[in-house]
């Protein structure tokens, strides 16, 4: 079984080809880091998996169930909306700009998903939320509003918010890119713990050190295609492709 499978995915914004035939598969408990230059389509690829963007053509599977099958911008195979909604609930996402809900407290940010979407019992939801906040080290700030937190703290709350829906796979879209350098570590530490617990993770990142340490596999994307993929030590230390070498030389 694969957690996420992407088959020949193309994405076009107007005349701009952002993804030009992407294929990859992520297995349960696997941690995959996607690296590559700006504009290479990494974030778009990630956003297509949970349908924040609709692909132009190709297929996407979540837990071996088809969630997208499109051709030239039109849906080929219609998926039962209820089934689709359930599959989407298995995908959690963390954004570059955190996107916490500013009008809700830290605790409410974490509980709103389960209460509104799953109509869960308030007491159980809150207990679960507190456990998650404990885990990301934010339990003592549960009644604060996001505006009063640092970027690193906001991102940790955002991780707890995503985890509250009990996802089976977590997508991270450059989770540390908007952070001050001294705040990056705490977020990466939280993500590392999550990986160690066996969460399936797909991470778009520029943190090469983190990728080397935590990833099971690294995918290097450039100009809408996957140039190279493999074990972190191979891709990051001994890349074969010139484009990978060039990119790594620039950022290291």
């Amino acid at each position: 079984m694969s957690m996420v499978k992407v088959e020949d995915v193309h994405k076009q914004f107007g005349d701009l080809q952002v993804l030009k035939g992407i294929n990859f598969e992520v297995n349960p408990k696997e941690v995959v880091c996607i690296i590559g230059p700006s504009g290479s389509g990494k974030s778009t690829m990630l956003r297509c998996i949970n349908r924040l963007e609709r692909i132009t053509s190709g297929k996407i599977y979540v837990e071996d169930e088809l969630t997208e099958n499109r051709m030239n911008g039109k849906t080929v195979e219609k998926i039962d909306p209820q089934k689709l909604a359930n599959l989407c609930l298995d995908i959690g996402m963390v954004f570059q700009n955190f996107n916490l809900f500013p009008h809700l407290t830290v605790l409410e940010n974490v509980t709103i998903g389960p209460t509104v979407v799953k109509k869960e019992n308030a007491k159980i939801t809150e207990e679960h939320a507190m456990e998650l906040l404990e885990k990301v080290g934010m339990a003592d700030r549960k009644d604060e509003y996001p505006a009063r937190l640092s970027g690193g703290q906001q991102q940790r709350v955002a991780i707890a918010r995503a985890l509250a829906m009990n996802p089976k796979v977590m997508l991270f879209d450059e989770p540390t890119s908007a952070l001050d350098p001294e705040l990056v570590g705490e977020v990466l530490q939280t993500m590392k713990e999550l990986a160690q617990e066996g969460m399936t993770m797909i991470i778009v990142t520029h943190e090469i050190g983190f990728a080397r340490e935590v990833a099971d596999r690294v995918i290097f994307m450039d100009d809408g295609v996957i140039c190279e993929e493999g074990r972190p030590q191979d891709i990051l230390l001994n890349p074969k492709e010139d484009r990978t070498k060039e990119f790594l030389n620039k950022i290291l």
Partner: protein
């Protein structure tokens, strides 16, 4: 000084002014949200209908709309059904002011919704919310603070504009004092109206100022 009978008349007039204002603002907010969502809809027909509504009610004078409801509708009714229709002027005022305010509030609410960063809707969808859930729980609550100032503006305008109902024979605050001024030849009666309008708009302003601070508390660092 006013006699006690005159005070009663002024009080009754003030009540009419307040009733129309309150009715219109409540209906306007409710319909305004619907219309704002229509303007932002993916469906072209909904967008066009909402646009048309707003275009019409903002583009024609309020007094004209009042006349149309009061005079034109009974005539159209008579022409098409052959029977008389007597509309209570108060009902006309309720209808006209609600419809008119809706158009303005819809645009205010639409701008409020559009001012919320797109990442909020994405984050709501990423935790599985539907469009409706995201609007109700995430997007619209964040607009409240931003809506207070422009809605307060609209409310103050509305309160003063209700004086137009004197033209359809409703004895609101302004018309009541006008009658007194005309009967006595003493224009000072108008000062009572001015003072009461000012008093009411001051209350509204103080109220909206406080509400704005309260609703924006979460933005404080």
């Amino acid at each position: 000084m006013l006699t006690s009978a005159q005070w009663t008349a002024v009080w009754d007039g003030t009540l009419i002014t307040l009733e129309i204002t309150a009715f219109a603002i409540v209906v306007g907010c409710l319909l305004g949200v619907v219309l704002a969502l229509g303007r932002l809809s993916k469906h072209r027909i909904l967008r066009a209908l909402s646009w048309f509504y707003i275009w019409f009610f903002r583009g024609t004078p309020l007094l004209l709309q009042l006349f149309m409801v009061y005079y034109a509708i009974p005539i159209i009714y008579l022409e098409s059904t052959g029977s008389q229709l007597n509309i209570d002027p108060m009902v006309c005022a309720f209808i006209t002011f609600s419809l008119n305010t809706t158009a303005y509030l819809a645009e205010i609410i639409r701008a409020g919704i559009e001012s919320i960063p797109g990442g909020q809707m994405e984050a709501a969808k990423a935790i599985g919310m539907t469009y409706g859930q995201a609007m109700r729980k995430i997007i619209i609550p964040q607009t409240y603070k931003r809506l207070i100032a422009p809605v307060g503006n609209e409310l103050v305008m509305l309160l003063k504009d209700t004086s137009l109902v004197s033209s359809i024979a409703l004895s609101d605050l302004l018309r009541t004092t006008k009658t007194m001024a005309n009967a006595s030849g003493n224009w000072l009666y108008y000062l009572y109206a001015a003072a009461i309008y000012l008093f009411l708009t001051t209350l509204l302003q103080l109220g909206t100022d406080r509400l704005e601070i309260k609703l924006g508390a979460y933005e404080k660092r």
